[in-house]
Symmetry: C2
Subunit: 346 residues, 2 copies
């Protein structure tokens, strides 16, 4: 048995998690042993912390963490995120954040159909350093009150993510686009470029460096030209949501937070949040969650089941009767779940 | 006479500047006295600096600077930018970077026509502090080699840009969207939000804070929902290019770097760069430059001429025979210029 920690979390988290569990069952994945954890903002309200004091130790006994979504109005983000999501990504050194996204037959996209066709992008995001550092704070008062935030890039940190991105590019189309802002403005970016360039030379790939501003525009204007996109923690965060938008909905987008050394558990979570506005109404799009679960299976070596789930997602999304309104459909969460399960059982 | 410093710059800079000058003439603007400066990468190659030692003093004697584009392969960006563009923005305390963008009849957009219709957005970008600070550097060697970059936000710096954005919002649709990343990740952003919120309360506007990642997606998915968007130096940079992409081409996008106190000259420049790949071929889209010149006229109080130029741009872009290929047309630079001039003379 492979041990999986399940954190359904808040809002639509539990709703989409339930679908993921049904889908994993229907795909015939029977050798997972689940630890169901109630870590959430609700737990915080009740017990004063998002997770127990020994929470990280408990997670460490698992192969993977499957997470729904955390966050709830009234609980400040710095509590829900620094109390759960961010410590997991960091303490478990999940330095790779993989965010694949593609267009699907039938799913309407905001970009024109001729541009959307065949879009299939993986954003590889550095997940442990860069702009998301703990170094920062406020100082002084009055007009001179100042807030500082220091981004930190290390050679080791850049090298390891560059290897992952370059390897992905080599396995896919052979092209790597690197988001940068190295035009003499942000001092850390020439270093980022230099290290990425050195690493990429070891792989049979083409590498393009693109300024983050221009890249944001080009991803809208010609998304099909991109394949693997490497970004720092902040740039990867922005670009992956942007690509989700280009492809039609963030509700579909999955993500994997991976420690490739397998020293620690990796964590799989949809890109969307807990969506308090639609929570409890059975309206959530479960596809981002299900796709994240499929990425977990792939990480566990279950290629066959992964592919079957991806095929079920594709078929389900193709029919307006079995996709949710955010992707131009008519279905509620349950209907999507039933369709996914039916496809997997048939 | 109003004194204007003209820096045509590199690549397509001089080509589009020539069009702007013809258009200003045709619009009947005759009371500008031009100082034509050859500051550029070419000058750098010849004389070792982008501008003379007393360059800033010389500019200071003008009401405004009209800039084409700077940058050329072989001259590192930190030279062409820190040697010209960035010092002008900073020494002249041009803390407001206005970047309006809209869709135009006839100009194809990458987003679907139903979503593109009526899009009309002004990105208000903080232009002097934030992520574009001079504080940063590299340290150490080997795997531990590290680059740091510190973003700096001051209360005074946030307040003044927030006033400008709120005033714009009050004069336009009454809605201000503020790009943030305040979910406990980037420490300076809660401070940004807090100060912007305080300032915005003084205006009869609705204010929405949106996380930069979600905002990037939403600007693609429903661009018509946005009106005035306020961003920090980096976020404003990214979002303005993104909006340019959504509207069809960065070749159209203008920008104004303004010191609202009028202590120093303001600078007007298209968002596009020097485009070495098409330089010298007469293919450049001059609209971003012409629109920037129109923004200069508005700054100088010439509303009537501004409006006439904007009308000429709209008519010219509507006809594929008089717009360039980047916006779905057939024209070269000269043909666009002739059309603009004809519309203004007729
Ligand atoms: C919730 C937030 C901390 C997070 C991030 O910025 O990493 C989210 O936007 C994401 O992309 O996973
Ligand atoms: C050229 C570069 C320094 C500049 C910036 O980032 O400000 C450009 O991208 C812009 O938007 O004007």
């Amino acid at each position: 048995m492979t041990r999986i920690a399940q954190i359904a979390g808040d809002g639509i988290g539990p709703e989409v998690m339930a679908v993921a569990r049904r889908v994993l069952d229907a795909a015939g994945v029977t050798d997972l042993q689940w630890t169901e954890l109630d870590w959430s903002c609700e737990r915080y309200a009740r017990e004063g912390s998002m997770m127990p004091a020994d929470g990280m130790d408990l997670l460490a006994e698992h192969e993977a963490v499957l997470l729904g979504a955390v966050g709830w109005p009234g609980v400040p983000d710095h509590i829900s995120l620094w109390g759960l999501l961010i410590p997991i990504r960091r303490a478990f050194d999940q330095y790779v954040n993989l965010r694949p996204m593609r267009t699907f037959d039938g799913v309407p996209t905001p970009v024109r159909a001729d541009l959307a066709e065949g879009v299939d992008i993986v954003v590889v995001r550095e997940n442990t350093e860069g702009e998301y550092s703990t170094l920062g704070g406020r100082h002084g008062s009055g007009a001179a009150e100042t807030a500082l935030q220091t981004a930190i890039f290390t050679r080791a940190g850049i090298e390891r993510i560059a290897h992952v991105a370059a390897r992905h590019a080599a396995e896919r189309g052979g092209t790597l686009t690197v988001a940068t802002k190295s035009n003499g403005i942000i001092h850390s970016m020439p270093f980022w470029d230099e290290v990425v360039r050195e690493v990429a030379q070891e792989y049979p790939i083409e590498v393009h460096f693109e300024l983050i501003d221009a890249l944001a525009a080009h991803l809208v204007m010609r998304p099909a030209d991109y394949d693997v996109v490497l970004g720092s923690n902040l740039f990867g965060d922005i670009l992956s949501d942007l690509v989700g938008g280009v492809c039609g909905s963030i509700g579909i987008a999955p993500s994997a937070n991976i420690d490739p050394t397998r020293t620690h558990p990796s964590m799989f979570e949809p890109v969307h949040g807990s969506a308090p506005d639609i929570a409890g109404q059975g309206l959530a799009n479960p596809v981002g969650m299900v796709w994240s679960a499929a990425m977990m299976l792939k990480h566990l070596g279950k290629e066959k089941e992964t592919n079957r789930i991806m095929a079920a997602i594709t078929t389900t999304l193709a029919d307006p009767a079995t996709r949710t309104p955010d992707v131009g459909g008519l279905a509620d969460t349950e209907t999507v779940a039933d369709a996914l399960v039916d496809h997997l059982r048939s």
